[in-house]
Symmetry: none
Subunit: 257 residues, 2 copies
């Protein structure tokens, strides 16, 4: 286990704790807000909360694993010999990344056939992207990391293409007052997801030891907050506006639970 | 306790954690979705969530037991001497397998008499199947394992026969738009349940030590995810479609909980 400085140890420690609190709070918010949107958008909010809830669980575990890997006593950080289990991130992404795409698809309220075909295609590509990235993440050398990273980029490019081409057409059919928000949600997905490969490539820059460990952990943590809690907030806003816009047509009235 | 390699230890460790997160997330999803289906289908979703909730509890316990059986320190895995409690799986199945059959029966909305007679017959056969399988699972020798495995197969064959003959007639009376989904749910039940005996027979192949332990744990874990969370998602989809189809007839309007 790479030795980290007391500052690096505390930074990562507090970032994990912060993210657990953020994800758990986001979960409560999304689930409590379900009754304030039309029934058609409730599954999107349910799934937004699942994503942050699953992430909260994994940040709790990763925090515990970080604490087990080091002791910070008398001002000195030392490695305990227990491995820091980085795999929690990949296990988390395997579950949450396909779900993030599902919430984006659901909030658009496409036809049943479109919803199911897009869910299967984008969900499978997302799972493949995560699975291909993992062997590189745990590899000790840069060439192996670069090989798997590049393979993982192929489904990523496909997802981006689908988001901008396939969903692009559907966005034009959304109500005028939400088109802009849906575009923002898509852009947030693209930008935050694009941040992960940058973090993944940090070791290429020749950084080593505690600095690379800290940079990777903080980088992935920021990306997770934006991609999960941030996207969920946009999904909530889109759901509220679409519910209001459709109220006149469907006779739906937003009401308290 | 069989010695496992660091790779095998981490694979099983992460698979148990992944499955806990999946089952807990599935439970939240099924219970939150109750308000989106007609009252007649809410019990099916309640029970789908019970099955995954019970499984989440057992995967939490089995994860703890795996961690207690081994230490992974300084890159070396060693057995602590504490037994890995495999019985959690059988305890889980004794509760969840009859409930899985109940959710399948409930979502079909048969007559009260049919529902109760099928529940009793299929539920008892499922419990018998689990009870007969356990003595073989803990047996040290192959002949004993094969004997109990074969006895356990008798109620299994009866369940399959009931699913395809008895439920077959009822499926033809389902609304046209869900017949296909109900057939898929039955096929998923059959295929995922058929996977358990294959895993059970892994020791027959002459595998030993850490490899057989890892193969059995990963095999049962995959089967559990498909049979419990996977079936639950199909039950949810069937419930939503049947609720929509009956909305015109029963005057049911999807409304907030």
């Amino acid at each position: 286990m790479d030795i980290v400085t007391p500052f690096q140890f505390s930074l990562v420690y507090n970032a994990f704790s912060f993210t657990f609190a953020t994800m758990a709070a986001a979960t409560a918010f999304f689930w409590l807000s379900r009754s304030q949107v039309a029934p058609a958008y409730r599954t999107a909010l349910t799934i937004s909360g699942l994503v942050t809830g699953i992430a909260a669980y994994h940040y709790f575990r990763i925090f515990e694993s970080w604490n087990a890997a080091y002791t910070f006593k008398d001002g000195i950080v030392s490695a305990t010999g227990f491995a820091f289990n980085d795999a929690y991130r990949y296990v988390d992404w395997l579950l949450t990344v396909p779900l993030l795409l599902v919430e984006l698809i659901l909030v658009m309220r496409l036809s049943r056939a479109e919803t199911s075909s897009k869910t299967i295609r984008l969900g499978s590509a997302a799972a493949l992207m995560i699975v291909l990235g993992y062997p590189g993440e745990i590899a000790g050398d840069i060439p192996t990391r670069a090989l798997w990273g590049t393979l993982s980029a192929i489904p990523f490019v496909y997802i981006v293409w689908e988001l901008f081409r396939g969903l692009g057409e559907s966005i034009n059919q959304q109500p005028a007052n939400v088109q802009n928000l849906v575009r923002k949600a898509r852009l947030l997905t693209f930008a935050s997801w694009g941040f992960y490969p940058i973090v993944y490539m940090v070791p290429y820059a020749g950084l080593t030891g505690g600095t690379v460990t800290t940079t990777i952990q903080i980088g992935y943590t920021i990306a997770d907050i934006v991609a999960k809690a941030g996207l969920g907030i946009l999904i909530f806003l889109i759901s509220v506006r679409k519910s209001e816009a459709e109220a006149g047509i469907d006779g739906f009235k937003v009401h308290a639970a």
